[in-house]
Subunit: 196 residues, 2 copies
DNA sequence: ACCTGAACACCGTTCAAGT
DNA sequence: ACCTGAACACCGTTCAAGT
């Protein structure tokens, strides 16, 4: 298949996904129908089904394409040798999630969907794996100050990345369910519980 | 209305809710239809609609009735004067959630639903308020060892309860998305991130 | 008052027919 | 190859009719 066609296909998929995302952000997963996406995109039902095999695959595409916050700056800091502690990495991740990535409400809805959609679950796990890799890179210089060998440092960075992602996940649900909350205040209060 | 009728109605609602819960635990919220609940309960469509005004109200009833883990033992420990630290209260809460209450998967699905269903959201917030009150009671003796006045102790206990509930929420999503994880290991690794 | 189950409006998906 | 939109199976909900 010629290159232009591939590029065209991808552009079309993206166009549909962006139309879907606008409706999803406004009305949520349950209350966004294919008819809504048809209306929002200006295409026909069949056009959408010629680019995605069903609603679940479209949702998965949206999740993969737009869910991950851009943590490039965070990762660059780590690779540049800056000493970023896990706590500081968590703080920066929560800050960047507030500015980029999907709304916490939609993320929680996608998690709910993932509970009954193995493919979506797999897609979200891949996304989180990428995030963990970025976080591990970010805290690696810090890990070297705490570990004797390079192997031990890598293991420590990976474990820290896993927990940072878990705590970030907790923050997202908390904000989605109870409304906005200051990042620093949240971290401080979680710390005081765990240190008690 | 005579007492027996009220009791009968409530028993019927409970019967329907339990049938619904069995299907929900098996197939999830999205894939449990009214027809499934009709089949599971042995009643008719109309019978269900004569006890719940719609599927959302039934879901809300299930959430209110079965979502909250029984934290009585935890609360009793606090009221009995036992010194339970916030960290220990979190540990006990996570342990009891693993044994009682709904599956993490279903809880996450309900949170997702709550994002587009204000009434369900309100019901879940009420449930969490009760949980927080229990947690605050549990850590009150501890709070008194850390605060100068009774008022300061109450405020400290309330703040701790809020954060314990938030961290528990984080644990639930984490387990739902990535599978079972040891409570103590989770707490230890979250602690090491926040202390770094 | 509670219950039945056929009927209705709407949803996701398919597919013969067009370009 | 991509697209159209009417048709189909299924879903949540209603309601005339039964007890």
């Amino acid at each position: 298949m010629p290159r232009v066609t591939d590029a065209y296909r991808e552009a079309r998929r993206d166009e549909i996904a962006r139309a879907a995302l606008r409706r999803l952000e406004r009305n949520g997963v349950r209350d966004t129908s294919i008819a809504d996406i048809v209306e929002e995109s200006g295409l026909s039902t069949g056009a959408i089904y010629s680019h995605f095999s069903n609603k679940a695959e479209l949702a998965r595409y949206v999740a993969e394409r737009f869910l991950l916050p851009r943590v490039d700056a965070l990762e660059a800091a780590g690779r540049g040798g800056e000493l970023v502690s896990p706590r500081e990495a968590l703080r920066r991740l929560l800050m960047v999630m507030g500015k980029e990535g999907l709304s916490p409400s939609l993320v929680v809805q996608f998690w709910g969907e993932a509970m009954v959609d193995p493919d979506l679950r797999a897609a979200m796990n891949r996304t989180v794996s990428q995030l963990r890799a970025s976080l591990a890179a970010a805290v690696t210089p810090w890990a070297h100050t705490r570990a004797a060998s390079a192997d031990a440092a890598a293991a420590l960075a990976a474990a820290a990345a896993r927990s940072i992602a878990a705590l970030a996940q907790g923050y997202i649900v908390h904000v989605a369910v109870f409304g906005p909350r200051e990042v620093d205040e949240y971290i401080a209060s979680a710390t005081s519980v765990l240190e008690s």
